[in-house]
Symmetry: C2
Subunit: 344 residues, 2 copies
């Protein structure tokens, strides 16, 4: 089958790799109907040192079950399923606590002999715990939105849940990428009163307004902090969702969080420390968030997607076939495309 392999920064190839087969009785094999490129894939695309063996890419996909191991219950050939961006048994103590990203028997796509999502098929370990059945066909127009349950919509939701967004609360989302926009959508769903989106790409912030942003701030740094403070009577917002990962955006987050508020970190950190000195103690600032346990949220978020109440799939503004996956990476890296959908 064909699959996406990255060899070094900027060098993404689509190659023939061995077809996946059941290796363990808890495996399933899924024929991918849709996958995508993640903002987090852009970090290795910018920085990865060369490796002769390459690295299989992709951690977001949905598709049709093609084969199941002998110990997998509840899944049958022909089922349409979505996979969260880490695989997990859904039964260990961490999974029961809703922290599937720390599953005792889980792992990441594309590592240790497990396929990546940006390929034609995937061997799914711990299939019964990992995959969630979708009650639509593979030709459904809902596929893009359902695919966001793999990662970006659940990740945005994780940001607003961990930063305690709710009715009457204000939130700032830093970053107008797909995760930031999904956080805006999730904040609206949870009843946020004021949602400020910080971003500089008008087409993206326009979508953010449609997703529920009440204000858009295009300024960065001290100017951006000043602007958010103006919009909040000087106080800052109860919640801040940091969906970039840069040192400057964490600095902004600390400058705009209201006393007693929480900053949820969703971006892959390009920093090693966060300035949390005496001022943050006096203000009772909480820093939370992290890799979203998407599997914990899918059942909760699925009904609104199926009913069309929310359309997180609108973050996809380009669709490519496998031949054009490298071009998809380039387009996302150059900020031409917001998020790229891959369809076989």
């Amino acid at each position: 089958m064909r699959a996406t392999v990255m060899y070094s920064a900027g060098d993404v190839r689509v190659e023939n790799v061995p077809d996946p087969k059941i290796q363990n009785p808890t495996d399933a094999v899924v024929r991918v109907a849709a996958s995508c490129i993640c903002g987090s894939d852009l970090w290795p695309y910018a920085q990865m040192p060369a490796t002769p063996t390459g690295r299989r890419m992709g951690h977001e996909f949905l598709g049709v079950v093609e084969d199941v191991g002998s110990e997998v219950s509840g899944l049958d050939r022909g089922d349409l399923v979505v996979a969260p961006f880490v695989w997990a048994d859904n039964t260990c103590d961490f999974c029961r606590e809703g922290l599937h990203t720390s599953c005792r028997h889980g792992g990441q796509w594309g590592l240790d002999g497990v396929d990546g999502g940006q390929g034609e098929a995937v061997r799914v370990p711990q299939a019964e715990g990992t995959l969630v059945k979708l009650p639509v066909g593979a030709d459904s127009a809902l596929l893009p939105s359902l695919l966001t349950l793999s990662d970006v919509y659940c990740t945005g939701h994780h940001g607003v849940v961990t930063s305690r967004v709710g009715p009457g609360k204000s939130v700032t989302v830093i970053g107008d990428g797909a995760v930031g926009l999904c956080a805006v959508l999730a904040a609206q769903r949870l009843g946020a009163e004021q949602t400020i989106l910080m971003g500089r790409h008008k087409d993206r912030t326009d979508l953010g307004r449609e997703f529920g942003a009440t204000d858009v701030v295009s300024e960065r740094g001290e100017e951006g902090i000043e602007r958010v403070r103006e919009l909040t009577g000087g106080d800052g917002t109860h919640a801040v969702v940091e969906a970039v990962g840069a040192e400057q955006s964490m600095h902004t987050a600390l400058g705009i969080v209201r006393d007693g508020g929480a900053i949820s970190r969703l971006g892959v950190p390009q920093y090693t420390a966060v300035p949390l000195g005496m001022d943050t103690i006096m203000k009772n600032v909480t820093v939370t968030g992290g890799a979203a346990p998407a599997r914990a949220y899918i059942e909760e978020l699925l009904p609104d997607v199926l009913e069309g109440k929310v359309e997180p799939g609108r973050v996809f503004n380009r669709t490519v076939g496998f031949d054009a996956v490298p071009e998809g990476y380039r387009a996302m890296a150059d900020r031409e495309a917001l998020k790229v959908l891959i369809q076989p």
Copy 2:
């Protein structure tokens, strides 16, 4: 009246200062029945640059109302009252959210013409919002425990509340000072299943065991991390209460927090940044806590103190009169005394 004034590191004096008088209609004057020296007072005692005017000390006290302003309701001369370690109106939006440390009309003892607690009397701004009436006399044997509601017991409680301690949860308390010991007591009160106390002073950790610590770890640094991991099946604890403020103790906290867990910071930070890189994102670590809004907790914690169910006042192991306040500072700084009570 006599009051405690610090002029520089190591230079604490008890001096005559003007008697407090009502200045605003929202003030009260309280004759201090008991006050104390705080672990946080030891930081200026170690480091404060010399100042010719000195700095009034003390932020924990209880006493008898001597005079009230014309706009103060609910308080009468002769009432025994306890003051939280910041004063607050108890009506603004922050106070209503339980964040009295960020009160819009509040402030700190000993600053801006407000008396400190380590004196014979105190003018209390926003008296109606700040002071909590105690249903005992000034001669009650409960005074030491009631005094801890000013700060250390409420601060320990804040640590375990913000780090989400509850039934079935495990917690590590770093630091065997009065706040750490009160956090142990508060963790037991909230139903923690395992409470590990990290400290090296046997008399203090012995009291910690009486307060509910299930394990004591005297090792520090990597050895201490290793030891806590051994005690928790390799996982670390759900909650960590950091009650020291040193860079090393934050490093320890990050090394022993369970995936998905929370570190509550209570210690005055002697660091400016916390190492929160990619590993803490993958582990979904939360950093929370801060200056405790003691006023928000007093009503909740008071009944158990009055009934003698908890005795946080056992953290006081030395009592001095005003003449011996400088000696009390020295004894605490030299770790001879755990916490020093001052009685007129």
